[in-house]
Point group: C2
Chain length 234, copies 2
């Protein structure tokens, strides 16, 4: 399998290219609009056919490349069932399997950061979890907008993600300190947000954060609900 | 094997942590001074013992953490035979093997970016090349200072690095556009700097670049020749 972690230095977003080496089918998780030319170049160089873009959730800090990539490649754009992006080609839900050649991603509904937050699991001897903004490296995604819920996130984390095998590699939607990957075992043990004793303690911890809104939120959310289509930014 | 690619967002440097899962011995390639606390935390969380730091060359754009890490952990600090950093614990040369637990890195002398530029090869079913500033993703390191030589670099690239198996993963010392890894096969085919017809054409291409010096060069080079020891920066 071809696997690439791609970094957007403006929003500190990690996007992921996954492709089947034999069939040359590819998908991109959490694409970033500004990086479209890089994606197109890389897909061309590697001889890949983009079959789908997947968004883990409706992002508030960057605009998805879903619609531009669909226009340019004819790929499907996929979002979660709870997403307001009705322009998407199709919607996935918990336990769906999304194929890329002979591989498949298992869809996990992990609400809390937003009510349309999903994670994707690529099984194998070295399982990979794409955890969006639900589970970050030594952190978790904020829960204070877009129908976020700290209580729901706690359940998504404890009941679904941390229940995966300890050696599962964790590939998050962002990292702000230069880390690129972790494991479920490490996050169980060392994630400071998960050292709380109960769901209620987690809710209190998250409620006490009082974070400023993302700079691009008022633009990114409506744009992403339109699959990334928007008027020129300035 | 535990493997982590770590990013310094100031200098766009990639550092690499490699460790043996059984023996817990670890080494860091191209450490960055500002990231020492992150390294110490990660080593502690993973229960690793740092046995050595390796520098691919005398960096001009950031200061190595070699001396601080040696002071704090008792590890060896290793540099190439041609390096002026006589304060290093030991010097490696072409074809040396550097052990990390039951794994070993093969040392490849690949001068050209500087006269003390090395690459490291981790063999296995998925071989990994740590190519420093010799081979970058769709680029190559500049050759206009610190006894750099475009002719030497061309030979290092063509005769040594590109001669590795095509599926070898390439982990460079920097990327400025958000790429994290490539392969030898891809670089053979798509690296624009390597589309030249001859060594002479490569020399002309590199001589025509006329790049400004790195901002930190006059501080970083002497500091790195002192294994990273330096007076406070401001």
């Amino acid at each position: 399998m071809i696997f690439r972690q791609l970094f957007d230095e403006t929003s500190y977003t990690y996007s992921y290219l996954l492709a089947d080496e034999q069939t040359k089918e590819a998908l991109i998780i959490d694409s970033v609009e500004e990086k479209v030319e890089d994606y197109m170049l890389l897909l061309g160089e590697l001889g890949l056919t983009l079959t789908a873009t997947l968004d883990t959730h409706t992002h508030a800090d960057h605009i998805t490349a879903a619609s531009v990539l669909r226009d340019r490649t004819g790929c499907q754009s996929l979002v979660g069932k709870q997403s307001k992006a009705d322009c998407a080609s199709a919607k996935f839900q918990h336990k769906d399997l999304i194929k890329v050649g002979k591989h498949s991603l298992k869809v996990l509904y992990t609400p809390g950061h937003t009510d349309d937050s999903y994670s994707f699991l690529l099984d194998g001897p070295e399982p990979k979890l794409f955890s969006g903004d639900t589970l970050l490296i030594r952190g978790t995604g904020r829960t204070d907008f877009q129908n976020g819920s700290a209580a729901q996130q706690y359940r998504s984390l404890v009941d679904i993600l941390l229940a995966l095998p300890g050696h599962t590699l964790v590939y998050p939607g962002h990292d702000y300190k230069g880390a690129s990957v972790s494991t479920i075992g490490e996050e169980r043990q060392h994630n400071p947000r998960l050292k709380v004793a109960s769901e209620q303690d987690y809710v209190e911890l998250m409620e006490a954060l009082h974070l400023p809104n993302p700079a691009l939120m008022d633009i990114a959310v409506p744009a992403n609900q339109a699959c990334g289509k928007h008027k020129p930014l300035a």
